[in-house]
C-alpha cells in the first residue's frame, strides 16, 4: 500500500505523517512536492497540517491553487481516499472538496491539547476499525478550527452521515461539535485533530493508528471484491 503525503510550502506535519505511515503502520509512503501532478502510484493521498503559505489571507486559501491540487481533485473524483488533517482540512474546504469553512476558534487563541472525541460514523474507509460511538483521544493544535457551515449544509451532513468525529467538550466553537467530516461520497475526509500524533504509545496514545489501519482494511477489502 502506498501513501502520498503532499508537502506544501509551510506544511509542518508532513514528516510526522510520513513516519506514522512508515514506522507505525508499516506501509510505504512518499513525501511529494506540491508541484507534483502525477499521483497514479498512490492508493491514498494525505494532506498534512501546518501553515501552508504562512496561513496568510486565510488558512488553506493560497494552497488550494497549488499544481498538485488539480490531481488531488481528480484522485478524489475517482473515489480513492483523500485525507486532510488540520491545515489539510482547511485546504480541502477552501478547494471545495469538502463543505463549510474553518474559522477562528471562538476564544481567538491557538489551542494545543489532547482532546476527547467520539467516532460518530464508523462506516467510512477511515473509521471502519473503530466502534460506533467509540470514545477516543487525539491531539489538536490549531487556531482556526472552528467549523462553520450554514443550516442547510448541516442538515445534509447529518442526513448523509457525513459527520465522522465530534468533540466531546467542544474546544473551539465548531457547529454541532464537528471535528471531522467526509464528502458525500465518503472518500474524502477532513479533520482538525491529528491522528498522526497518536500512533505510538510513547507519544501518549494510539487512537490515531486505528484510522490508518481502517484505510488499509478498506483498500484490502476493495481490492478483494
Amino acid at each position: 500500500m502506498r501513501f502520498a503525503v503532499i508537502s506544501f510550502p509551510g506544511s509542518n506535519c508532513d514528516r510526522d505523517l510520513y513516519y506514522a505511515i512508515v514506522d507505525s503502520l508499516g506501509e510505504q509512503a512518499d513525501l511529494i512536492s506540491y508541484t507534483s501532478t502525477d499521483l497514479s502510484k498512490y492508493d491514498t493521498i494525505l494532506i498534512p497540517g501546518g501553515f501552508s503559505y504562512g496561513d496568510y489571507l486565510r488558512s488553506g486559501a493560497i494552497a488550494k491553487f497549488a499544481p498538485a491540487m488539480k490531481s488531488v481533485k481528480a484522485f478524489a473524483a475517482s473515489g480513492r481516499p483523500v485525507i486532510g488533517i488540520c491545515n489539510g482540512f482547511q485546504i480541502l474546504t477552501e478547494a471545495g472538496l469538502l463543505p463549510g469553512t474553518l474559522q477562528h476558534n471562538t476564544n481567538i487563541s491557538f489551542i494545543s491539547e489532547w482532546e476527547p472525541l467520539e467516532v460518530v460514523n464508523n462506516k467510512t474507509p477511515f473509521t471502519n476499525q473503530y466502534q460506533v460511538n467509540q470514545k477516543i483521544k487525539l491531539p489538536i493544535a490549531h487556531g482556526d478550527g472552528n467549523y462553520y457551515c450554514d443550516d442547510d449544509t448541516l442538515k445534509s451532513l447529518k442526513q448523509n452521515h457525513q459527520i465522522v468525529f465530534k468533540y466531546r467538550n467542544n474546544p473551539n466553537g465548531s457547529v454541532d461539535d464537528i471535528a471531522g467530516i467526509v464528502n458525500r461520497k465518503g472518500n474524502v475526509l477532513g479533520m482538525m485533530p491529528h491522528p498522526e500524533r497518536a500512533t505510538e504509545k510513547i507519544l501518549g496514545g494510539q487512537d490515531g493508528l486505528t484510522l490508518f489501519q481502517s484505510i488499509l482494511n478498506s483498500i484490502k477489502v476493495r481490492s478483494l471484491s
Binding site: L57, A61, F65, T101, N107
Partner: protein, 82 residues
C-alpha cells in the same frame, strides 16, 4: 493605473468570533458606548490594467478566486483611476 479598495466582511448571519472577542475586550476596558463591532479585511491594490472595465473585471475575479471566502464573507469595492 487603477486603485481599488476592497472591503471584505463577515456575512451577517454568521458568528464573528473576532468581533465578539474585540467587543468584550473593549467592555472590559470600560468602553461601554461600544454597542457592536465587527472586524473585516480591507485590501488596497494597484492595477496596471488597460481600461477601467478591465480593472473592474480583475477586481471581481481576484475577489472570487482568492480574496473572499464566499461561504462566509461578502465584499464591496471602490475603483478609481490614479
Amino acid at each position: 493605473m487603477y486603485l481599488a479598495k476592497i472591503y471584505v466582511s463577515h456575512k451577517k448571519s454568521i458568528l464573528d468570533p473576532q468581533g465578539e472577542a474585540i467587543k468584550s475586550a473593549l467592555h472590559r476596558l470600560n468602553y461601554n458606548d461600544v454597542n457592536s463591532i465587527t472586524q473585516g479585511k480591507y485590501f488596497i491594490t494597484k492595477l496596471d490594467s488597460q481600461s477601467k472595465s478591465d480593472a473592474d473585471q480583475t477586481v471581481r475575479s481576484i475577489c472570487k478566486d482568492l480574496l473572499v471566502n464566499q461561504n462566509m464573507e461578502t465584499y464591496q469595492y471602490e475603483l478609481k483611476e490614479v
